[in-house]
């Protein structure tokens, strides 16, 4: 577990993440993630939700981990994974603060998060990474191993454990309230925003 800055200015992030790791990440930082990502999207969150509400154990220990919002396409024979880009994160906003409270340190997807989610990042020291939406073929190259760990019947929406190496992303929301989407738009807007 560490965050180090490489010679090219990109931060190398190794999972699991500590609070100190999260604190060292700033909105706009480019990162390369190595270690483990757990995939979960709409249907998996739907199953985790009653467990969280009842205080039951979850099928994965989220402490220090990263949840990647994706549902990969099937792997061709001989390939580790199919296309594996991010899905829209805001659909998971309802569930995210509770997972962060349980110790989840990062989520990764695309698109803006709600204010309660951003507040949870501040309160519990967590971060949101943006992966490039629609670049699923390129992103598949950074996945070394895939294993289904829960809810296999959900198909693409099952929870998978991905082992990744140098998976590229950018810090969208840091734990200090930073927001890349707002900053970026302000820097380039030329009217009516």
């Amino acid at each position: 577990m560490s965050v180090t800055t490489a010679a090219d200015g990109i931060k190398d992030v190794t999972t699991p993440l500590s609070d100190a790791d999260v604190e060292s990440l700033k909105t706009g930082d480019r990162v390369r993630i190595s270690g483990v990502l757990y995939t979960a999207r709409d249907a998996a969150h739907g199953r985790l939700w009653p467990l969280i509400q009842d205080g039951q154990p979850l099928p994965i220990d989220v402490r220090g981990q990263i949840i990647y919002y994706t549902g990969p396409s099937p792997a061709r024979p001989g390939d580790v994974v199919g296309s594996v880009g991010p899905t829209t994160a805001s659909r998971m906003d309802k569930f995210t603060p509770a997972l962060i409270k349980l110790g989840l340190k990062a989520t990764m997807g695309k698109g803006a998060r709600s204010q309660p989610v951003k507040d949870a990042f501040k309160q519990y020291t967590a971060v949101y990474f943006g992966a490039i939406g629609g670049a699923g073929a390129v992103l598949s190259r950074f996945v070394r191993r895939v294993e289904i760990v829960a809810y296999e019947d959900l198909g693409t929406e099952a929870i998978r454990r991905l082992e990744v190496e140098n998976f590229p992303a950018i810090v969208v929301n840091d734990c200090r309230g930073g927001d890349l989407y707002q900053d970026g738009m302000k820097a380039y807007a030329r009217e009516e925003t």
Binding site: V84, G111, A112, G136, L154, T156, L180, Y188, T193
Partner: protein, 280 residues
């Protein structure tokens, strides 16, 4: 009458589904190249370059451009002198989708009911729109429509008093609210006029025009260019990281409408704009 056997339709749809997901159309690649010459943002340029690389990797390594391989929307122009033989047209299209998605290693993204949400496992059924037209040809246009951008599509019923300025403001507002969520740079299909459902249908149909091409109606062409320039001044940029390339094209189709109405529908399409067609 000209006979077209359903097996030809199955084969064509299967190939269109696979090709659409693995081979981004040249109009999109050209649009990325044009954007790279105007984009000021470094992050935006990096994203556009990665999207080009992604298209190349999808084509050469046969991995879908995006893991969301879409809901198949199929527009059929059925010549009135065509006789479909050997089975039902709709079944043939769905069989083509089933084969394309299972044999092509494409993701099954369709649930059988909006309420119980059980995946159908083979990406069927498609959404099929059939127009009967003169002639003896059968034209199949398919789009693998991504869900994230579709979720940001919008509809409104303006009053005639709102006029064209009201229409423009609504379209720009759609781009703003789609923001980074819908995977910009976006393509917008816009339907203005007709009825509630007609406007929505036009907004999908509008997406099939080649990106970067001119609208054949000069007035609409000027409108599209004005809207595109406005959208690209919003600053959202590729992936919402900030930049000048928020949209690569805005396509408008219109239809006559009732004296009381000004319906406007906007289909939001992401940069994974996967469209293919074949004529049998």
């Amino acid at each position: 009458m000209r006979d077209v056997h359903v097996s030809a339709i199955v084969d064509a749809v299967k190939k269109l589904c696979i090709d659409a997901n693995l081979e981004l159309e040249p109009d999109m690649l050209r649009a990325f190249d044009r954007a790279l010459t105007t984009e000021r943002s470094t992050a935006g340029k990096q994203v556009l370059q990665i999207l080009k690389d992604n298209a190349e990797m999808a084509r050469t390594r046969r991995i879908p451009y995006c893991q969301d391989t879409g809901f198949v929307v199929c527009f059929v122009e059925l010549g009135q002198d065509v006789h479909v033989t050997g089975g039902a047209l709709y079944n043939a299209i769905n069989e083509g989708v089933r084969l394309g998605y299972t044999e092509g290693y494409l993701r099954a993204s369709i649930v059988r009911s909006p309420f119980d949400r059980v995946n159908t496992g083979d990406n069927t059924p498609a959404v099929i729109h059939v127009d009967v037209v003169p002639g003896a040809a059968l034209r199949l246009q398919i789009m693998a429509k991504g869900g994230g951008c579709e979720n940001r599509s919008k509809y409104t019923m303006l009053t005639p008093a709102a006029g064209i300025e009201g229409v423009k403001d609504f379209i720009i507002d759609c781009v703003k609210t789609a923001g980074p969520d819908a995977c910009p740079p976006l393509i917008l299909g816009v339907g203005v006029g007709g009825t509630f459902e007609k406007a929505a249908l036009l907004s999908k149909k509008a997406l099939f025009r080649e990106v970067g091409s001119a609208n054949s109606d000069p007035t609409l062409d000027a409108l599209e260019k004005e809207l595109l320039a406005r959208a690209n001044r919003l600053g959202i940029g590729p992936q919402g990281y900030g930049g000048d390339t928020t949209s690569l094209g805005i396509h408008v189709l219109t239809y006559p409408c009732h004296i009381t109405s000004l319906p406007v529908a906007v289909t939001i399409e992401c940069h994974a704009h996967r469209h293919k067609e074949a004529t049998l």
